[in-house]
């Protein structure tokens, strides 16, 4: 018999599961579809988690009775009501393991800094700055979802590229090569087709967020509108981090900030802007680990504390 743990990073587009033994040695990975239950509903969320546990058990030839803990990082799981719903749903799986529920941001923080202290800035399709200070208090900025803008996120950057293009097409803004680059990326032959593209029900938030990389490329080539958009995004992300520092960490020595997501790791101009804006208040690190590793680590800590 070998005791084991599972870490799960459950997101709006995909869910990553990672199994490890109690020494922390990674045994296997599995990737499934979305499991943000706010979007997928509870039934589908539960099915995704169940299939991850099953697949890992089968492929690694491990027994579910030897599984000690499933440690999940889930969007929105900071709220007690959400936790109750999730725990209730997972209880229905009838397993003997414990379930640990943390937010997706907290597991990323732990994965990035190795401990639940400091700040994580995530800027992918959405954006959030999430901090836990020495006293254990949680401080968040942003992360309210795409409607309220998720400033500096891929969605916000992509959307801004569309907005500026529309204005240019109507003589209300300067037309630059960014419009052509966005059109080409979306497979459109005329900017007028953009109205159909953005309003099409099959166009997802992810499709709009995908424009962000195009904006980053255009900025690198010197496109003025793209540079403006990217700089605004960098400033917006800096303001999220600054808000967390001010409310939770004060004005002492620079705070450790780890960064995840395509916007901060792939768009150099965003990172430069962030470093400039936060030079005196933060040490920024672009992360190469995966957030799910933080879930595994929290699972292992739970096991150790239990012994």
């Amino acid at each position: 018999m070998m005791q084991w743990v599972i870490g799960i990073d459950g997101g709006g587009t995909k869910t990553v599961g990672c199994a490890a033994d109690v020494t922390g040695k990674v045994l296997g990975w599995v990737e499934k579809g979305p499991s943000n239950y706010h979007i997928t509903g509870v039934a589908k969320f539960t099915a995704v988690i169940a299939s991850i546990i099953d697949e890992l058990a089968v492929s690694l030839n491990l027994k579910k009775v030897d599984l000690l803990v499933v440690s999940l990082g889930l969007a929105g799981a900071d709220r007690i009501r959400d936790k109750d719903i999730v725990i209730g749903a997972l209880a229905g799986l009838g397993l003997t393991c414990n379930y640990l529920i943390n937010s997706d941001a907290k597991i990323a923080l732990v994965a990035g800094l190795g401990k639940a202290e400091g700040i994580v800035l995530i800027a992918g399709t959405g954006s959030i700055a999430y901090g836990i200070n020495r006293q254990g208090a949680v401080i968040r900025a942003g992360g309210w979802g795409h409607l309220a803008s998720d400033e500096g996120s891929g969605y916000a950057i992509g959307r801004q590229a569309v907005v500026r293009g529309i204005r240019a097409a109507e003589g209300r803004d300067k037309a630059t090569v960014l419009m052509d680059m966005i059109m080409e990326y979306a497979g459109l032959t005329s900017w007028n087709d953009m109205i159909g593209y953005i309003n099409n029900q099959s166009t997802s938030k992810g499709n709009i967020a995908a424009f962000a990389q195009v904006v980053g490329d255009a900025a690198k080539q010197g496109d003025q509108v793209a540079i403006e958009i990217v700089k605004q995004a960098g400033d917006a992300l800096a303001s999220l981090v600054e808000s967390v520092i001010t409310r939770g960490f004060g004005w002492g020595e620079p705070v450790q900030v780890c960064m995840y997501g395509g916007i901060v790791t792939n768009i150099l101009m965003v990172r430069e802007r962030l470093e400039e804006a936060l030079a005196k208040r933060a040490n920024l690190v672009a992360c190469k680990t995966q957030p799910v590793e933080g879930a595994v680590r929290l699972g292992l800590e739970w096991v150790q504390n239990k012994v």
Copy 2:
């Protein structure tokens, strides 16, 4: 036997039908649910139109064989592909009448100015400036849907109120009484509940747009953030109209501009801002007619031209 016509204003939230005799005398009204086929799908669109025709015929004791024309104003119907789809769907009803398809903006223009020449500015949940010049050319600005912002619309104003409130809650913006007013309107006891409200699947674009009236009220009371939001909206709407004037009407005498929608008719500060910005280029009229009356008028013109 009495020959008759129907005008229909088909929108994303409701559909208004109006029957008239060939002299233009209004015989009856009926209101149904949404009929923007981009949103509802073609089948539901067709069912709504069929039920309007049926109900008017039955309640007015008129025969469908005496119905000469159904004149529709539909979102997105400027494009030939959309027209073909709509005409094809309506042909399935098996009626002998003719169908006239125009955009929702064009029927509003005709209702507001009495002819298909001039500019209409619509600022309700969404926003658009739509002009037809003396040469018959159509010039549009805005109206690309809520993702690309519909600047100055109720949705944009409501969304901005949420964005500013989030920033204030996170110490990134000044907190004003607008936050309390929005919370009260949404039935929330804490601003933190706003994250659940805006991301709830039952919260519609209309719910967000409804915040606009609260912003208007707060601005009237002198709330600084509300005043900023409302002024920005006024400027954005002015820029839509200006774009249409510049591209389609040139720099001659002031252009007739009729206005529809709660934002321009109910929020005084928006209208003042618009009048100021467009003083030299436009004569602005807030409309009391209903857009569907423009559909009826276009239907009657078709009948007269046919005779």
